[in-house]
Symmetry: C2
C-alpha cells in the first residue's frame, strides 16, 4: 500500500492534496442546494457533504465554507431560512458540476445550465425539476468548527418528495432505482448499484 504521512500531506502540492483528502473519506452524497436571494434571484450549488443527523426529529446537516464559494447559498439561507436539497440524476451530472463555477450573485445558475426550476404549492423556494428526490429544509442552527473555520449548517426536514418507483414498502428510498449518483473526490461522478440489504444485526451466541 502507498503510505502518506502527515508531514507528506502537509507539504504536498495543493491540487494533489485537494484530490487526495477529498477522496480519502469514501463516497459522498451528490446534491444540489437551491435557494432564493432577497432580490428574488435563484441559486443552485453542488454539495457533497450533506449528512443524516437524526430521524426523530428528521434533521440533516452540511459543511460550508462561508468565506469562499458557494457564499450565495449561505447568504440566501440566512435570509430565507429555507432551502431545498435535490438529488442528482446521472443525466444531470454535467450541469450539476457546472453550478460550482463562480457566478456573480445576480446570475442564476438555472440560466447558465439546462437545470430547470420547479416550485411546490405556490411557494417561492426553488427545487430542481426532475431531481429523483427533493427535500424542503428549514435552517435551525450553525456550528463553527474552530479547527478550520468551516460551518456545520443544521436543518430540519420539512417536506420530502420522492419518485414513487424508488420508495419501498418499509420506507426506504432505493436510490439506484432513481439513477441517483454519488461523488468520489472533488469532481468524479459515480453511479452505485444495490448489492444487498441485511437485517438488524444481533449478537452471535
Amino acid at each position: 500500500m502507498k503510505h502518506f504521512t502527515k508531514k507528506q500531506i502537509n507539504e504536498m502540492d495543493k491540487i494533489y492534496r485537494l484530490n487526495l483528502i477529498n477522496s480519502c473519506t469514501g463516497y459522498k452524497s451528490s446534491n444540489l442546494i437551491a435557494t432564493v436571494s432577497d432580490k428574488g434571484v435563484n441559486n443552485i450549488a453542488i454539495f457533497s457533504s450533506i449528512t443524516h443527523l437524526g430521524s426523530d426529529p428528521a434533521m440533516l446537516g452540511f459543511i460550508l465554507r462561508p468565506k469562499t464559494v458557494p457564499r450565495d447559498t449561505y447568504v440566501n439561507i440566512k435570509y430565507k431560512k429555507k432551502f431545498s436539497v435535490n438529488h442528482i440524476h446521472y443525466s444531470q451530472i454535467k450541469d450539476a458540476h457546472h453550478t460550482s463555477a463562480k457566478y456573480a450573485s445576480e446570475i442564476s445558475e438555472f440560466e447558465k445550465t439546462e437545470l430547470m426550476e420547479e416550485y411546490k404549492h405556490g411557494k417561492a423556494l426553488p427545487f430542481v425539476k426532475n431531481a429523483p428526490v427533493q427535500i424542503e429544509c428549514k435552517y435551525l442552527n450553525e456550528y463553527e468548527i474552530k479547527e478550520n473555520g468551516t460551518l456545520l449548517i443544521v436543518a430540519s426536514v420539512e417536506n420530502i418528495f420522492v419518485n414513487k418507483n424508488m420508495l419501498l414498502e418499509d420506507g426506504m428510498i432505493q436510490l439506484d432505482k432513481g439513477g441517483v449518483t454519488a461523488i468520489n473526490g472533488l469532481d468524479c461522478y459515480t453511479l452505485p448499484k444495490k448489492l444487498e440489504r441485511f437485517p438488524y444485526a444481533r449478537p452471535k451466541k
Copy 2:
C-alpha cells in the same frame, strides 16, 4: 411524486421513518472505525456519516450518538485520542454490517466476524486488514448538536494507506478501482462505478 409532509413524518411508524430519513439524504460513505479500549480490547463499528471537513489541514468528522450504540467507539476515542477509518470492500459487507450488533465492551468484533486486525509500525491502534483505504486519525474536538443531542467528532488525518492501484497521478483515490462500497439508508450496501470526471468549472461567457 410521493409527498411526505413534516406532520406525516412526525406521526409515521418509527421503523418506516428510520428507513425514509436515513435514505433521503443520498448515498453515504461506508467505513469501519476501529479503536482500542483502556483494557486493550479492540472495537470495530460501522459508520456512514464520515465527512470531509477540509484539506489543509486534512480533517474529517463524523456523527455519533453518545447515549446509544456504538458507545464503545466514543469511550475508546476519548481514552486513546486515536482511531482508524477503514473503507469497506464489497467482500466485507456482511461482516461490516454485523459490527452494528450490540456486544459487551469486553468482546471484540474482530472475534465475532472474519474481519482481521492489522497494526502499523508497531503501534497498538488496530486497522482492518484488506480495507482498500485506511486512515489513522487523531481526535481534535467535539461539538454537541443541541437540536438532537448528537455529537460531531472532529479529527485530523495523521496517516493514509491506500491500495496503489486506486491512486491516480493527480492524487485522487479512484474508489471503484478498490471495490469500495457506499451505503443507502440503514442497511443497504451498494457498489458505485465511475461515470465521468469534470474539470474545474469556470463561468460561461
